[in-house]
Amino acid sequence: MDVIADNLPAYLQGFSLTLRLTLYAGGLALAIGLVLAAMRVSPLRPMRGFAATYVELLRNTPLTLVFFFIILVAPRFGVLLPLDFIGFAVVALTLYTAAFVCEAIRSGINSVGIGQAEAARAIGLTFGQTLNQVILPQAFRTVIPPLINVFIALAKNTSVAAGFGVVDLMGTGRRLATANPGGVTWVLVGVALGYLVITITLGAIAAQVERKVAFTR
């Protein structure tokens, strides 16, 4: 147990990086996922096709492979991102998570009756106005719980970055485990606790929202 206490600063540093990876990738994935979801319900077929292809590709590719693509393959095709490994990790996590965000939002959009969109279009609202004024506000409640599940998965998925030299919580755990072969169990317990802080907080928010939704229905 001492191993945790002794290395608290290292843990905190790792935790802080994991938290930042989650927040940055989460925020970006939310924005991109929202755009993708809008494209998936767009009246324009090419838009729908692009978004559907993107989602299927990313959702069905192992995250580690996405990292490899960003770090190793993309540069060969001339995509040179002026980023360090943390930057690459944010990009990979964002692109991967956006696919799941899109699906969560799309299921929320589909939960709103088609008549709502038709009525909005019938009074002359554009596609964007229909989405913003009528569909998304009603989809919001149904979207929050699955969306938070996506962010919980993201928080855990950030640990893949440790395999690419990022010293996040997981990366810190690896280093400490190498340095303290006798205390591996406790080192990893410390790592797990760090992730739990993030995921349990997110879960609590989800539960809170679900209770609110239950009330207002």
């Binding site: 008549g115 709502q116 009525a119 909005a120 009074i123 002359g124 609202l125 009528v134």
Partner: protein, 262 residues
């Protein structure tokens, strides 16, 4: 082709009725193998009230929905006030603003108050000032008899009240023509008349209306013309009195005998 005048139909006002407002020319549409609209030609004149009647599945809703392009068509043209329906985009949104639509299932925006339901279109689609839109909406809600419900959510209203709000919402856009797709079919019997009364008064005020309904009372009171559809085709057109008392086609006779025995 001005509709024939009968004792029970309102006199067509020749100063406002005459020029074509909604013109469907050779319209065809398929749903897969189903030929749901078959070479439809229909002209509705300004100020005219046309009732579309026909068996379930004959394509009445599809016809209505095609007129404000909630459904696309395969061939033919549809134009509103001389303008062909544009493809998706801002131009289509503008054109839809000119065509009011009332649905069988009301489709009021569930998360917005009655007042907000009515002001949303004018504010967002027409750029009307919030205060002006509010004033206008309250006047319209008063006209359809639900002004005292303005701050409620749709779910708190009865079906008849919701449908009247839906009519006010469509009117708020100052449409050139109003489409009604079985506006009273989802209503409890005791609420049907409160909605029909609003529609009759609209018709009396000279609104151009295309109404899918089996309410013969409404057709007799307000319609200039009845269009009978069956199997995706317009089978017969006549003024209401002629249609209900002396239909020409066997299909219309058959249909009328069924709805009259109910």
């Amino acid at each position: 082709m001005a509709p024939e005048q009968t004792s029970t139909s309102p006199a067509p006002d020749l100063t406002t009725m005459g020029e074509p407002l909604v013109v469907l020319d050779g319209v065809n549409k398929h749903f897969g193998a189903l030929h749901v609209l078959q070479d439809i030609n229909l002209t509705v004149h300004r100020g005219e009230v046309v009732v579309i009647i026909g068996p379930s599945g004959s394509g009445k809703s599809t016809l209505c929905r095609a007129i404000n392009r909630l459904e696309t068509i395969d061939t033919g043209t549809i134009s509103i006030d001389g303008q062909p329906l544009p493809a998706e985009g801002k131009a289509l949104a503008r054109l839809r603003a000119d065509v009011g639509m009332v649905f069988q299932s009301f489709n009021l925006f569930a998360h917005k108050t009655v007042l907000e339901n009515v002001t949303l279109g004018p504010i967002k689609a027409k750029g009307v000032k919030r205060s002006a839109a509010r004033e206008d909406a309250l006047r319209l809600l008063d006209r359809v008899g639900v002004a005292n419900q303005a701050e409620k959510l749709p779910a708190q209203l009865s079906g008849g009240q919701q449908q009247r709000v839906a009519i006010a919402r469509a009117l708020a856009m100052q449409p050139k023509v109003m489409l009604f797709d079985e506006p009273t079919s989802a209503l409890d019997p005791e609420m049907i008349n409160e909605v029909l009364d609003v529609m009759v008064s609209l018709a009396r005020d000279g609104m151009t209306m295309i109404v899918v309904t089996h309410e013969m009372g409404f057709a007799r009171k307000a319609a200039h013309r009845v269009v009978f559809m069956d199997g995706g085709q317009i089978v017969e057109e006549a003024d209401p009195e002629t249609f209900f008392t002396a239909p020409r086609s066997d299909r219309a006779k058959d249909f009328l005998s069924k709805i009259l025995t109910h």
